[in-house]
Amino acid sequence: MAVQSTLRPSKERITQLVQAYARHRPIVQRVLTAGFVVYCITSTYRGLAARPASSSSKRRGKGKDDGGSAKPRVAVTRSPSSASHPLQVDAVFYQRLSRILRIVIPSLRSKEALLLFMHSSLLIFRTVISLYVAALDGKIVASLVRAQPVSFLLNILRWLLVAIPATWTNSWLSYVQNKLALAYRTRLTQEVMRQYLGDEHDPSDLKVFYKLANLDDRIKNPDQMITHDIQRFSTHLAAIYANVAKPVLDVILYNYQLSQNVGAEGLVILTVLVQASAALLRALTPPFGQYTATTAQLAGNLRHTHSRTEKMLAEREFAAKMGHEHRVLRKRWWHGCAEEGIVKWLWGSFGLCICAIPVFFKLPGVAALDMGGRTEDAFGRVMYSYKDLSELAGYTSRVALLLETMEDVRKSKFDKALVSSASIEENAKILKGRGVVELSEEIQFENVPIVTPNGDILVKSLSFYVKPGQHLLIVGPNGCGKSSLFRILGGLWPVYGGTVRKPPADDKEDMETRGITDDDLLEILALVQMEHIVEREGGWDVAREWRDALSGGDQQKIAWARLFYHKPKVRDLSCPPDMEGMMMDHATRLGITLLTVSHRPSLWKYHSMILQYDGQGGYVFTKLDAEKRLAFQQRKRRST
C-alpha cells in the first residue's frame, strides 16, 4: 500500500489548519473516543431496551467480559442485528433465546456450561496456536530463503511437533461443538417431553400432547418441532457461538490496533461508513429467519401428509415446499451478490482509504499498517454471521412457539377457531367461564356445560352423580356429547363451568413393585379369553406393532385386560365387545364402578343408573329399570 503521496496542500491556510489540528490532536482524539464510546453505549442500550432488564443473555455477557476495555465496540458490530424485522434478529429474538438458553444451560455448574467453557478455551487456544504457526511459517521461509539447512530442518521439526497440538485442538473443537449441540438437544428434548407428555414429579397430569393437537390451532405438527426443529436449533446454537465470537473478537482487536495506528478519526469515519453500508445491507436482507421457519413448517406438513399416505395432498405440500425453497434460493443469490459488493469491495476500499490517511497527511506518531484489510475482513465475517444469526432466529421462533404454546395450554389458554354459534352472547358467556375440578370418592357433575373445543355447546348444563358401585349407562344419539363427557371427566377437555368431582387418578407403580407376576397377567388374559395370544405371539417380551398384529376385537379385549390389571375406582367405557357380560361381572367383583356407553340392550341389566341425551341439548338422569325398559324397547321395535 505504499502509494506515493502526490497530493500536497497548495494553500497556506490548509497547512495552518492541519498544523493546528495536529497540535490539538490529543484533545480531539480524546473527545472523539469519548463520543464514540458514548455512541456505542447508547446504541447498545437502545438495541436491548426492549428486553426485560433481568434477562441478560449469557452468551452476550461472556462476549463483553472477553472484550475488556474495548467492550462497547461489540455493540457497534452487533447493532446491525438489533434491527426490528418481523421474525428477525431483534429484541424478541433475544428474549426468546435467553429463555431457551436458561433451559439448555440450567446453571453455571451444568455439563453444558462446562462444555461451553471448554469450547471457548479451545477457541482461544486455537487462535494462539495459529498465531504461532504463522510465525513459524515465516521462520521456515526465512531459513529457506537464506539457505540455512540446519535451522530449516529444525524449524520443520518444530512445525511437525506443533502440528500435534494444533490438529488436536481442531478435532477436539469440532467434537466439543457437536457434543454441545447434542447436549443442548438433549436438554431441550427432555424439557419439551416433560411438558408434552407429563412429569413424574408433577401430580397434575395435564395431557398437553392431547390438548396441543385437539384444543389448539397454533401448532399443526408438534412431532416435527420436537424432532427436527429442536435438532436444527441446537446445531445452529452450538455453531453460532464460534461463528460470532471469533469475528467479534477480531473486530475488537483490529479496531483497537487501528485506533492506535490511525487514530480515533479513522475509527469514527470507518464506523460511520460501515454503519451506513450495514444499514443498506440490512435493508436489502430478506427475512431469512422467516424463511427458515416457513421451510421447517412446510417440511412438517409434507411429513404429516406423507405419513397419512394422501397422494395428491402430499404432492401439493411438496410443491409448496419446492416453490418456497426456490424463492429462498433466488433471494439468497441476490443477497449474496449485494453482500459481496458491500462487504468485500466497499469495505475493502474503506479500509484502504483509512490506512491511507497517515500516508497522505503525515500525522505524527502513526505507522501505516495493513490494518484496514484485516478490519474489513473481520467486519465482513460479522456480517456473514448475521445471516447465520437470522437463521438461528428462525429456528428459535419455532422452538419458542412450541414452548409458549405448551405454556399457554398448561394454563388452559387455548387459541382455536370457533364455530359461528360461539359468538352468540349467551354461548360466549359459557365459553369464557372456567369450572372447578375437585377430588372426591364419587363422580359428580354440577351444572357443567359440555362444550367441544371449537366452541359448540352440546349441553348447557349437566348434573349427575355416580356413587361407588352404581354402574352408569349413557345412551343417546351419535354426536350429542357422550364421548365428550368422558373427555371432560378424563381431564382432556377444559371444564367451562360448574363443578366436577372425581376420584384421584390411579397411581401407577411398576409391575414388580406391585408384586404382580406373569401368572396373574395370564389369569387376567384368561378372563378376557385371550390366553392363547401369549403362545401365538411367542411370549411376553415380544415387541411388535401391535396395532397391526391384533384384530379389532382383540384390541378391545386387551383394553379390558388393562382395566382389570389397573383396578381403578372408576372407569369409563365406550362400546365394549361381546362377552361383556362376564367381563362386567368381574369388574363389579373387583369393585370397579363402570360408566358405559353402549347401544346394546343386553348390557342394561348391569347398570343401575341411566343418563340419556335427547340430542337437542337436553338430558335425563334417573334410575334404570332394565326390564321395564327392555319391554318398551321391544314394543317399539315391533311397531316399527
Binding site: 406423507h306 426456490h326 459481496e340
Partner: protein, 749 residues
Amino acid sequence: MAIRLPSTAALNNLSPKSRRSLLVAFFTLLLLLRNRTLKLPGTLLSRLKRVASRNEITQEELAQALQQVYVDEPDGSKTLLVPYQGRISKFNITPTSDSTFAKNAKLFPLLPAGQKPNLDKAFLRQLFAILKIVFPSWCSKEALILASHSFFLVLRTVLSVAVARLDGRIVRDLIRHLQSTLCLKMGARLTHYTDDLYLSHSPDLRYYRVALEGGLSDVDQYITSDIHSFCEGLAQVYGNVLKPSLDLVLFTSQLSRSLGVRGTAMLFLNYYVTAKILRAVTPAFGRLAAVEARLEGEYRAGMGRVGRESEEVAFYGGGLRERSILMRAYMRLIKHVNSIYKIRIAYEWTEDFLIKYLWSAAGYCLISIPVFLTRVRSIGIQATGDPRAHGRVDNEVANRTETYISSRRLLLSLADAGGRLMYVYKDLLELAGLTTRLYTLLSTLHNLPRPVVPSDSPDTVAVRNVDVGVPTVAPAFAAAASDTAEDISVSPSETEDSGASKTANTVLVRGLSFELKTGEHLMITGSNGVGKTAVARVLAGLWAAQGGGDVSRPHGKRGVFVVPQRAYMVTGTLLDQIIYPDSYPQFVASGRTHDELMQILAAVNLAYLPAREGGWSTRKEWRDVLSGGEKQRMAMARVFYHRPRFAVLDECTSAVSSDVEGRMYEHAKSLGITLITISLRPTLMRYHTQLLTIAGDGTGRWTLKRIGTAEERMDMDREIVSLENRLAEVERWETRVKELERLLSVQEL
C-alpha cells in the same frame, strides 16, 4: 477457522505486471458492482410496490383452490394449485408411467444379504441406478443445471490459476446457487418418482404391502428426510470432487515443471502414502450414517404415533409411559450420534495432521532441495573470492524467494485441494450409506412380488379353495431385513421379532370357497381373532390368496368397496369426506350435485352435519371433530356415494345405534349394493342371505349356511305384502312410536 498458512505474502510479492492487471480487474469489478448496488434498492422498491399493489386473492378463491387441489390437463399431467403467501402458484406434474417403473425395475435388483455400504462397485451401481431416475435424459433440466454447474466449476479453477485470488465470490456464489438448485431439482425428481411408485394404485398397493411383504418400516422417513440428505450430499460431493481433482491435476502439472522428475515422483509417493493411511484409519462412515438415519426415523415415528393416537394415550393417562418409550428411542439415537463423533476425533486428527502439516512439511522439503543444491554450488563460487560476492548473495536470495513464492502458491493450493479430496472421501462414505438406504427402499418397492390380480367377473364375488393367512416377508427381503436388524446392537427382542414373523405363517382359514352373486348378501361371523378381517383383506386384494386357490371379483372402482373397522377421515373439506377416495375434480367431472350428497347424508342420519360445521367447504381435523358413530356413518355415506356392486362392511357400524344401522343396511340394499358384512351382532343377520362362520379353533374350519330356506323366503314375500299393507297405517303407528319414545326416556322420572 482452520489454521491457514498466510497467503497474503504471495499477493504482495507478485510481479508489478500481474499486480496492475489485478488492480484493473479489481476496479472493473468495483465499477460493475457499484452499478448493481446502486440499482438494487430501486428494483427492490419497485418490486415491493408491485407486490403491494397486486390484489391478494380473496378468501373464497383460496378456499376454492384448496378444494380443487389440482386440474387435469389434456395430456394426462396434472396442474397442482398451491396456495403460497397469499397467492396461488401452479405446478405441473406428470405421473410416472408404469412402463418406466417396469423399465427401471431391472436396474434395481435386491441387495444381497450382508452388504455393507462402502466405496466399491456395488456403490457405483446403486448410485447409477438412482442417477438414472434423477437424470431421465440428456436434455432434462437437471442435466442442464449440472452442465452449467460443471462449467462454472471449471471456469473457477481456470480463473484462479490465471489471476490468483480473483476468482472472487461472485463465481462462488453462482456455484453455490447452482448447487442448491441442483439439489432441489434432484430431490423433486426423486420424490415424485418414489411417491408415484410408493403410492401406487390398486392392484399394486405398494404402500400397504411394503411393510408386510417387503419388511420395511418408516417409509415416510425415507421419502421426506433421506431423499433430501441424499440429494444434498450428492450435489455437494459432485462439486467437492470435481474442483479439487481439477486443481490437483493442474497444479501437479505446473509444479512438476519446477520440481523436476524426482520431485514429481516424490509428490506422487506422498499422495499415495496419504491415501493409504487415510483409507486404513477411516471408520465405516457409510454404515454409521445409515444407522443414524434409521434411528432418527424410529424416533420420528414414535413421536408421530403419540400425535396420532393422542386421545387414546390421554384417556389411559399413558403420557409418562410414552415419554419413557420416546426417551429410549431418543437416547439410542443420541448414543449412536455421540459414538460417531467420538470416532471422528481420532480420524480428523490424523487427517488434519497429514494434510495440513505433513504435506506442507513435505512441500518445504521438496522446495528446499533445489535451493540447497544451488547453495552448495554458490558456496563453491564464493570460495574463489569474488569482490561482488555481496551483490551476488542478494541476487541469490531474490532468486530463491522467487522460486519459493511460485512453488509455494502451488503447494498451498495443492494442500488445499488434497485436503478437500480427503474430506470428500468421508462425505462419499456417508453418501454411500444414504445411497444404500435409498436403494433399499427403491429396490424393495420395485421388487415387491406382483400381486395376484383377482380375475374379473362382473357380477359375482367368488372364492375358490383359498387359504387365508398372514402374508410373510418374501425370503429375499427377509434376509435383508434381518441383516439390518443385526447391524445394530439392539435388544434381542427385535431379532426375535423378525424370527417370529417368519415362523408365524399360520393359515387362519383353510380352503375357503364360496360364490356370491349380486343380490345375495353374505355375513361373516366368528369370535375375535379368527380371521374375519383377513377374509375381507383377501377379497379386497390386499392380501394374496394362498394355497393355490383363486379369487374373482368385479374390477374397477365400482366393483368391491371395503369399509374398514377404523373409520378413516381424510384431510380436507366435509365434501372430501363423503367423496373419498375420489377427489374434488373427479366429483365435478362426475356431474353429481350437492343435493345428491345431502340425500346421502340424510340416509345415514347426518343431514345436520353441513349446517353444524358451517357448509361443505369447511376444513377441519375431522378425525377429532366427528364422534365415533358419526365417523362410522360417514364411512357408510361413502358406500352410498360410490354405489359399488359389492360392499365389504367390516364391523363398520359397531358404534352406530341399531335403528340407524338397520336403516342404513336397508338403504344399501335398495341401492342394489350386495353386502358382505363382518360382524358379531346377530341382529344384522336378517339383512343377509348367507352366513359364513369361521370356527377359530386353530384348524381353519368354516361353515357356510343359507339364512332362511326357500319357504322362509316365501314367507318374506308374504311379509312384504303385509308390510305394504301396514304402511297404509303408518301414520297411526308413528304417533304410537313417538308416544313410546317419550315413555322410554321419561317414564323413570
